[in-house]
Amino acid sequence: MTETIVLRVSNLSKSYGGVQAVNAVSFSLASGELLALIGPNGAGKTTCFNLLNGQIAADSGSTEFEGRSLIGLKPRQIWRLGVGRTFQITATFASMTVRENVQTALLNFHGRLNSLVSLAERLYVDEAIELLARVGIAEQAARPCAVLAYGDLKRVELAIALANRPRLLLMDEPTAGMAPRERAALMRLTAELARASAIAVLFTEHDMDVVFAHADRVIVLNRGCIIAEGKPAEVRANREVQQVYLGSGSLFGAEHA
């Protein structure tokens, strides 16, 4: 695999009312790589994510995507550049079918969103089905999103996030609320997609089984600072990480050690 750096973050900082939520965070991410961002609740993971996707503005530091600065851009401008997102709590369009959800994203990607007369339902059908097939739920295309099982909704989100042919995916707790086997399957799928299409993936996660099995690299945040970075096994053996985050290890399987 060619190691092209897709995302480069340097000295990113943000404080709220005197509390340093993110403090001089720097890291980079290569195409096809899965990077996990872990840490205790309140360590600054969510803030870090929102800084990257443009929902909040950084106090200082820089973020570059494919050499372009993301500072000052709005979320939708960042999306235009080729960054996809999924959310911790699924956010889909409940009044639409699965296929229409993906079509809506495609309509915008192809710049057709302001059309008043064409029938949206009949546009980009094949492309939408193709995306749904890639995440393995093409057979559910006609169902309303509101009736889908949670694990399937997560897949819909992934299909939507792929609609703009992203080179970077930001996934906030992608497996939250799923059963263990579904978690493993979703992350396996994500890893396959990442490698096949050379997509860089940055994700946060609390399930250490998922992190240790699927991340290529792990960054540990505590109180806004990076306290450890490395291969899963290295991070897992780190004393400080065990103390502030991992605990005694009773809560995840031993098989990935």
């Binding site: 840490g39 205790p40 609740n41 309140g42 911790q88 009736v147 099982a149 949670y150 694990g151 707790e173 939250a176 609320g177 799923m178 059963a179 263990p180 086997r181 579904e182 609390h206 250490m208 103390q243 502030v244 985050y245 991992l246 605990g247 005694s248 290890g249 009773s250 809560l251 995840f252 399987g253």
Partner: protein, 233 residues
Amino acid sequence: MLEVKGVNSAYGRAHILYDLSLSAKRGEVVVLLGRNGAGKSTTLKTLIGLVRPLAGEISFDGRRIERLEPYQIARLGLGYVPEERRIFTDLSVMENLEVGRQAPRAGAPQWTPAKLFRLFPNLAGMRERPGARMSGGEQQMLTIARTLMGNPSAILLDEPSEGLAPVIVEQMAKTILELKQEGLCVLLSEQNLHFANLVADRAYIIEKGHIRYQGTMAELAADGQVRATYLSV
């Protein structure tokens, strides 16, 4: 303590629970296992009265409660700790506790803020802090403390480990075992089997609104077939 017989529940037109029966005793920790959407949260919401069952009986402490309003059920001594914590973010820690406060109850442990701060030492240092400025782990402590202020004899915990760092989850397990020591009946819903193993005496497995399995944690640990079929591990 808590006895559920043949309960059916629905949200609007979606039927969620089918002839659900379960029970939990004083001083016992019972876990309801199942994947997202299986009906775990709905079961707990039905018990506390947030969802009114279509049919079936629910008794708590010898009283039928399936037709009561949530506040009446809570005042009988059944505490409810929701998924996603739902603390009052505008209110301080002390004010959150005040909302949960109820008169002492015979046959149930009594709680005061001072006693709760011994159970959750983290909270003691932030009495006046508004809920909005607490981390997820701290909020999870507060939501349990707030429910305990009602001096319940049984509590329902909806996915207490979800979204928490492993260290915090370990603390949570310790807390639940301490509550058990106090004689509380605890019914929790979980997806995390590791966590369930740490705290529970017995388990029910729920799938698509039906109870598919019940047994002690030891029996469940020995039954690879059941775990593979229903829990996908």
